[in-house]
Structure formats: C-alpha cells, structure tokens
Amino acid sequence: MAENNNLLVKLDNCGVYKSSKWIVRGISLEIHKGKIVTLIGPNGSGKTTSAKMILKILKSDEGQIKNFASKMAYVPQKINIDWTMPLRVVDFMKLTSHINNLEIVDALKLTGVDNLLYNDIHNLSGGEFQRVLIARAIAKKPDLLVLDEPVQGVDFNGEIALYNLIKKICSTLNCGILLISHDLHFVMSATDHVICLNGHICCSGTPRSIVKNSAYIDLFGEHNATTLSLYQHDHDHSHGTDGRVTNNV
C-alpha cells in the first residue's frame, strides 16, 4: 500500500500511432516519488513521444495510462518563442503558475541565472535559456518533473552542476523525475531506473543491470558499454564550477 502511495504514473503497454505507423509501442513503466527514471535511446526512438504520453500531451492509442500526479512540470526539448512576443524572463517564469518575484529569483538562483530576471528572453544564449527553462519547472514545485534533454547547450561545468541540481531537487521536493538524456555518465551514476528505447522498450532496469544487458550493448556499442561500467564508482565528492572539489551534495 505504501508503495502505491508513491506511484505517480503507470503506463501499461502504451503506444502512439501516427501517419500509419507506430512511433512507439509496448511502453510499460512506472514513475515513483523521489525516484529518477531515465529514457535513453538513439534519435527517433520515441523518447520525446513517450514523455508526451506521460504528460497527457499525446493520447495513447492502446494500453492504459494511470496518472496520479497532481502537478506536472515540463522542460521541453525544443521551444521556439516567436519574436512577435515581447517576453522577459520574469514573464516566462510566471507562464503557467502564479508565483511571486521572490520565488522566481530563488529558482533562478538555483540554476545560476538570477541576474537575467528582466532580460528579454529572445536575447538569451542557448545555455542560459535552458537554465531558465529548468528554473521555471522547479519553481512550480511539481510532484512529477519531466526533463527532455535539459542540459543541451549548457557548458561542461554547468552540465555537472545542473545534473547535481536535478538529483537534489528529486529528494528535496520528493518528486518523481522522468529524464531524457544522452549523457550516459550521469544516467548510469545517478538515476534509479533506466529504460532503453528503440521504438519499444529494449531493456530496462537499474543502471548496474542495464550495462550488462546484451540489448543495451547492441544499441550503444561494446566500447561505450564497457567504458560506462567503469563509471559506476561511488561519488563521495563533487566539483565546483572551477573544477575544485567541493562537498556540497
């Protein structure tokens, strides 16, 4: 029963059918509070489509979806804001929720862009915009957070800091996180459950079990697979943005 209370989303054999073919099919997964589930897979394998199904943006054409999440937040993969709309970061942060400027600044501080509060959103760099997107989702205090390649275009040090932030958010908000990522290092070291997609679920399980799976090795290659198993060391420290060892985890 306690297990069930933590359940946020359950997909049972779901799929999306579009222009006479199945984009994804046979997707079954569960997302629980306080856990990170990661979707990995090659381009066009249906990661974003699966995420949209979970977020109720797309309807599943078969199977069953149970969604118990009361507040979902989404960091989409691509977002294009039309130049015809004057929009500052502060306006964007309030897009789907009523939050005050204090909460906004707090969230922007977490991703290191609180200085951009009144900047025109069109003039941000790709990495800065990504940080604003993540801050916006966090500021909503969701119980289910879906991040579709959240650190694209972010500099190397920033990437590590943001991934650490995502991990921290997961426990402080006690929210479930669905992450789509190409960064296998992070996926293997910090997530609870990995799902390997290629139109269907190739394999899934804990990072430790996944790297030994032959379907995973087929999909990502022997070299990556073996390199990554080496990455399964326990992190007892983290690095500041300048590379120095810090212990803020």
Partner: protein, 273 residues
Amino acid sequence: MGELQIMFDDFFTRALIAGIGIAIIAGPLGCLVIWRRLSYFGDTLSHSALLGVTLAYSFSFNITFSVFIISAVVALLLINLQKRTKLAGDSLLGLLAHSTLAIGLVLIGFLTSIRFDLMGLLFGDILAVDVEDITIVYLGGAAILLILYFIWKSLFSATVNYDLSAAEGMRPEISNFIFTLLLAGVIALSIKMIGALLITGLLLIPAAIARNISSSPRQMVIIATLAGVVSVIAGLFVSLEINTSSGPSIIVVALLLFIISLIPLEIKGQLQK
C-alpha cells in the same frame, strides 16, 4: 438624462463612443492575433462576415448575431479542414476567405428588392451607428473581455508553447476554441462600423505599434489598446475635418502611428552601434 440624450443625439459623439469601444476590445485580441500569426485568419473571418450580413438581410436576422454565427462556423470549418487535408494553412485560409466572400456576393445579387449598400459593408459606416449599436458593442465587448480575462493564462501559455501549456494542466485546447469564438465575436461587433475589409487592420496595426515599443506582454496589450483608441479618435476628427470616409481614416491614422513607433527602434539601433 437630458444632457445624455443630447450627447447621444449627435452622430459624431455616437461614432466616437462606438469606435472607442471597438478599439478597447481589439487591443488585447489584436496582440494575440499577432503573437499567434493569425492575421490571415482574421482576414478570412472578416471576409466570411460578408456572407453573414447577406444572410441577415435575406432572413431579417440581427446582423451582429448572423455575422458571429457565420464567422464561428467558418473558423471551426477551418480547424477541421486543417486536420483532414494536406493543404497548408494559408491555402485553406485563402480558399475559405474567397469562397465565402463569393457566396456572399452571389447572394447579394438575389436581394434586388432591398437597397443594399455594398460600400458600407466593405468599409463600414461608423457615422451611422445608433444607440442600439452602441449598447451591443459595449455589452458584447464587456462579455468578450471578461471571458478573455478568465482564459488569458491558458491562452497566453499556449501561445508561447502549446506542449508546455498542455503538460502543465492549462487545458489549451479549450481556450484555443474559445479564442476562435471571441475573434468571431469582435468581427461581428465591428462589421457595421469598420467594415469587412478593414477590421483586421484595426486588430493588427495597434498591436504592431505596441510591439515596437513594449518589452513585456502586459505592456503590449495596454499600448495596443491605447493606440487603437487614439487612432479612432484622431481618425474620426480627421474625417470630419477634411471630409474623408471614417473607417479608412482611422486605419490611416493607425498607420501613421505605426511609422512614428518605428522611430524609437531606429534610435535604439543607432545608439547600440
């Protein structure tokens, strides 16, 4: 009572009051039309409005009501067609705009028994509004703005990003549908005064002026509304002074304001060099 009566007795005052009402409704809706790149959509709706007017004359309906129904039907037809055909949105808009316009014009041919002012229909006649028209504009306008206020967050978030809005429970499919009806509503309210050909101008130009000089969405809505009101007032005085037709004069004034609004952009550009 007496003074109010005298005020409404003057055709020019009535025109001013009605025009300002239309401009206030057009401000926020015009911003959304610009943000969503729907200017041709507005055009299509207003062309189909002609059909609505003809039907109103044929069956002696209320014009505003008839135009609203036809515009709404065309809008929904368009959304439906977009899902079914492989044609691009602009082709479908053209198809619907011109075919409804043509049907309207063909029907006018049958209405030989009624004196029909085609020019008035295309360009409107704001100087001919009566107290009943003004009442309809203000009641209808209040309803439109009230509904817009309630769906604004959903509509706005869907304008920025549909997926994000849908994922975060803003129900954009509902607000999009209502927005279409509101657009049909503003066209219905203003057809008599501004005319089928110029309505989109009153929606678009004030919002375009506002875009040039605003840095936040709220600011843009406020400036668009003010720019519309100023255009209406100045346009009507110009038309009275130099005896030009009122609807086009309003649009010309709006265009002049647009040109002036480019100057700050130009100065800013020079300073940044």
